[in-house]
């Protein structure tokens, strides 16, 4: 029997498209990419479950707060003092789970 992959991996867009985010215009997490420029570990890039930290060709980090699970992984793994300013979104905004 030919081996078939029963689960063609979800695209990341489809995966994140399954989650409701009530986006507030104000970012609840701010990343100081000047500090990130000098960071050699960049744990956030692989650890963030929403994949919100993207290395740029110029050697920086591109961050977008909109599809954030508000889990805290990024600031917990961050080695660089002051690189990530982390708050919860305004009340009623951000991720809204339904079947978890």
């Amino acid at each position: 029997m030919p081996k078939t992959d029963p689960y063609p991996e979800l695209s990341f867009e489809t995966r994140m498209g399954s989650v409701e985010f009530r986006i507030h215009e104000k970012a609840h997490i701010v990343v100081d990419d000047q500090i990130c420029d000098d960071c050699t570990t960049r744990g956030c890039v692989t650890a963030c479950p929403a994949n919100l930290f993207v290395p740029t060709a110029a050697g920086g980090i591109l961050f977008n707060y909109e599809q954030c699970f508000e889990c805290g992984t990024c600031y917990l793994v961050c080695n660089e003092e002051g690189a990530i300013t982390w708050n919860y979104p305004e009340g009623g905004h951000g991720v809204v789970f339904h079947q978890v």
């Binding site: 995966r15 989650v19 744990g43 692989t46 805290g72 009340g91 009623g92 809204v96 079947q99 978890v100």
Partner: protein, 432 residues
């Protein structure tokens, strides 16, 4: 004059249990929730052990929004293409007073919060507590993100979850060590109810919980699969420092688990309804903050009360137990007119004399043991290797003796007798 006797921050199981006990004791209590409804920010690995509710809500099982009652519990040791499973089932867990239940947190947490509201608590949703109000060292309320949103109270109970910025602001936590934390990721996968019944061999409202070790590649952690009524949840728990080192991303490891031959047939053809992630206070007892300050108590995940002890993975019960104790202690302190740290000491004696601290204290080494090299890497390979050799019939060769198999597998997996014996003893001391 305070706005409330007590402000409880976070309408998860800890906060709602606290608010319920305070309202029943006749205290005015505000239950603050930053999400649009209780449970909207919460996620877990799937099973609520409800017996702690016996004292709070008699016959809770008749009304709690349960998906399935867990009557089949498996522990699976996995390698790339092997799996060895301990499979236990009992019908007794499928009738009152039950044991574990699967539930959706938005349903369960909203139900419990409503109990507090019915008892007289004031639930305020869509409101984030942004900081503490203080008078000197004494906490006297919280600041919120509502206009004119300061709320004064004699006691603040921080049930604001694993990141607990309130407990940190109160100086109750040392600086965070990522080694104490894991991140859980999960897919909720839709399948018809009868398909779940057939694949997991259960009927009616009975369900299955599978805990897995050996499915997280180079990253210490574990996996889980459990059944809801018409969805199956598949997830992973991953150690933060190892994940940050960058060999694999969470969703890649999750995809590998879903494609494992022991897992793939269980969820084949299902549609992913929701992806989710949440951080877990994995280290339990060894990472707990100071639980009591002047005018403040900490309960639930905010106090690192999640129990990640390998064969036991619990949290909602500890949240309810600690939250209820905090609520009772705060009610008593308000009544006596002393809400200083000393006046709130009743919280400590209540949780010390219950399972909340007894289990955590006894099992304090368990999270480290389970996340260690032997349990993570060598044990699954060793157990599967032994099983494969024992059950492989190599005729015309005769069967090897068990001792020979054990010796060969220990050698193949690089496990020294001495280390195995030491870790075995450690496990006995921890779990015994």
């Amino acid at each position: 004059m305070n706005d409330f006797d007590v402000v409880v921050v976070g309408a998860g199981p800890a906060g709602s249990a606290a608010a319920l006990e305070l309202a029943r004791a006749g205290r005015s209590v505000c239950l603050l929730e930053r999400g649009p409804f209780p449970g909207s920010k919460n996620m877990y690995g799937g099973v609520v052990y409800g017996r702690i509710l016996d004292t709070l809500i008699p016959n809770w099982w008749e009304e709690a929004p349960v998906q399935r009652w867990v009557t089949r519990r498996q522990t699976m040791l996995m390698t790339g293409e092997q799996a060895l499973t301990v499979d236990f089932r009992t019908e007794s867990w499928g009738r009152p007073p039950y044991n574990g239940a699967t539930a959706y947190r938005p349903d369960f947490d909203s139900w419990l919060a409503q109990k507090a509201v019915d008892a007289g608590a004031v639930l305020v949703t869509s409101t984030t507590a942004t900081g503490l109000l203080r008078d000197g060292n004494k906490v006297i309320g919280v600041r919120t993100d509502r206009p004119d949103g300061d709320l004064t109270a004699s006691v603040v109970i921080a049930c604001d979850g694993v990141n607990s910025f309130l407990a940190k602001e109160a100086g109750l936590y040392p600086p965070s060590d990522p080694a104490n934390y894991t991140v859980g990721v999960k897919e909720t996968i839709a399948l018809p109810r009868h398909v779940i019944d057939e694949r997991f061999a259960v009927r009616g409202d009975h369900g299955v919980d599978i805990e897995i070790i050996g499915c997280t590649g180079d990253i210490p952690g574990g996996g889980f699969i459990y059944t809801n009524t018409d969805t199956v949840a598949v997830g992973l728990v991953l150690s933060l420092p190892a994940l940050a080192k960058g060999s694999q991303r969470p969703e890649e490891l999750l995809a590998a688990l879903k494609n494992h031959p022991a897992v793939a047939p269980l969820i084949e053809g299902g549609e992913v309804k929701e992806y989710s992630a949440h951080v877990i206070p994995e280290a339990g007892f060894d990472m707990m903050p100071e639980l009591i300050g002047d005018g403040i108590l900490v309960a639930g995940d905010a106090a690192a009360m999640c129990l990640a002890a390998g064969i036991w993975l619990e949290g909602v019960n500890f949240a309810i137990g600690s939250g209820a104790a905090a609520g009772r202690a705060a009610a008593r302190a308000v009544q006596r007119g002393n809400t200083s740290a000393e006046g709130l000491e009743g919280y400590r004696s209540r949780i010390e004399s219950s399972f909340v601290m007894a289990d955590h204290r006894r099992l304090r080494d368990a999270p480290h043991l389970v996340m260690g090299e032997l349990a993570q890497r060598q044990l699954p390979a060793l157990a599967c290797g032994i099983a494969e050799r024992v059950f492989t019939v190599e005729n015309p060769d005769p069967k090897p003796g068990l001792r020979k198999i054990l010796r060969a597998e220990l050698r193949r997996n690089g496990v020294r007798w001495r280390d195995a014996a030491r870790e075995g003893l450690r496990a006995l001391r921890t779990f015994g």
